[in-house]
Symmetry: C2
Subunit: 203 residues, 2 copies
């Protein structure tokens, strides 16, 4: 059996990567990665399902032991992707899907070179601005910050394998599903099947 695929969906805030991620998970049954966090559990959150909840001391020990694919600090809490459960899923042939920011995508690609990285972008920056405004949560200043960050993130296009322009959610989800299906059809991801076929037909 060939290993599963590790697929990373990334892109700027407002481009729609979260929605695409959810729909691709629902349609494919791909494995999610459960993050580790130092944030306190909220009502209803379940250890090992929502997150792995750890103290800051435990978290720092995991960092020191190199147990993360990527880790980030957000508003004084840490969030990270533990390597072990992801690699176990891949070895068992399961595909794993991630939604992370560009910094996280870079970190994952560095630690797992076979990761398939997809950058999700709006058709242009004007559309991104409209979508961010549409959220109604951005000040003029935070909007400017986000647009500046988006441009810097797109500037890192060379570290991504694919770029999906999110003109509509249906089209963007289809693009991501097509990319995953195409990757599953790569010869290098079918070596066990091919060699079995050749081996079973020695004449």
């Amino acid at each position: 059996m060939d290993k599963g695929l590790l697929v990373v969906i990334s892109g700027p805030s407002g481009a729609g990567k979260g929605t695409i991620y959810q729909q691709v998970i629902e349609r494919t049954g791909m494995k999610r990665s459960v993050s580790v966090t130092t944030r306190k559990p909220r009502p209803g959150e379940v250890e090992g399902v929502s997150y792995y909840f750890r103290t800051e001391e435990e978290y720092q020990q995991m960092i020191a032991a190199g147990e993360f694919l990527e880790t980030a600090e957000v508003y004084n809490n840490y969030y990270g992707t533990p390597k072990a459960p992801v690699f176990e899923n891949l070895e068992r042939g399961y595909d794993v899907l991630f939604e992370v920011d560009v910094h996280g995508a870079k970190s994952i690609k560095k630690k797992y070179v076979d990761a398939i990285t997809i950058f999700v972008m709006t058709p242009d920056f004007e559309v991104l601005e409209e979508r961010l405004k549409g959220r109604g949560t951005e000040t003029e200043s935070s909007l400017k910050t986000r647009l500046g960050a988006a441009k810097r993130e797109l500037g890192k296009y060379e570290m991504f394998d694919y770029i999906v322009f999110n003109e509509s959610i249906d089209q963007a989800v289809k693009d991501v599903l097509d990319i995953i299906n195409a990757e599953k059809r790569k010869v290098k991801n079918n070596l066990s099947v091919i060699t079995a076929l050749l081996g079973n037909n020695q004449q």
Copy 2:
């Protein structure tokens, strides 16, 4: 504008590459490549549409001038793919689709390294044998020859980017369409769009 894609569908006789090729052409409007041949025109065949008809002397001159992407001799006639019209289409941003045997695929990949090569195979060799028998045109001896050739062709899997197992025509056509769509989403095939986006947003 980015260049078009050159996509090559190949695989053993009986695997279904011709049917898949026709359906992908119909659904995508990709450009066909028109072959050059030394065979005499049949009734209804049109110069420049069915084939470019050339004398053997003219054909040999084209070979000598390096004008072919691939060339083969079949039953004392030559068939070849001329480079110039293919490269013109690619430069204009049109995608071009080929259906060739494994030898031709190898030749094309050698002369155009960005060619995307897809190997079409039946789910196993038993199914291939059934399909060849189903044609009703194979003798016991020619069947054995074709199956031996099919095995040798699959043995060249390393020169192909993708492998599509033709369980049903609909699924195999979808796989090829997904591969083409995924390739169109590759960052390296969107550099002009990406740099235009970045360039238009200098702040």
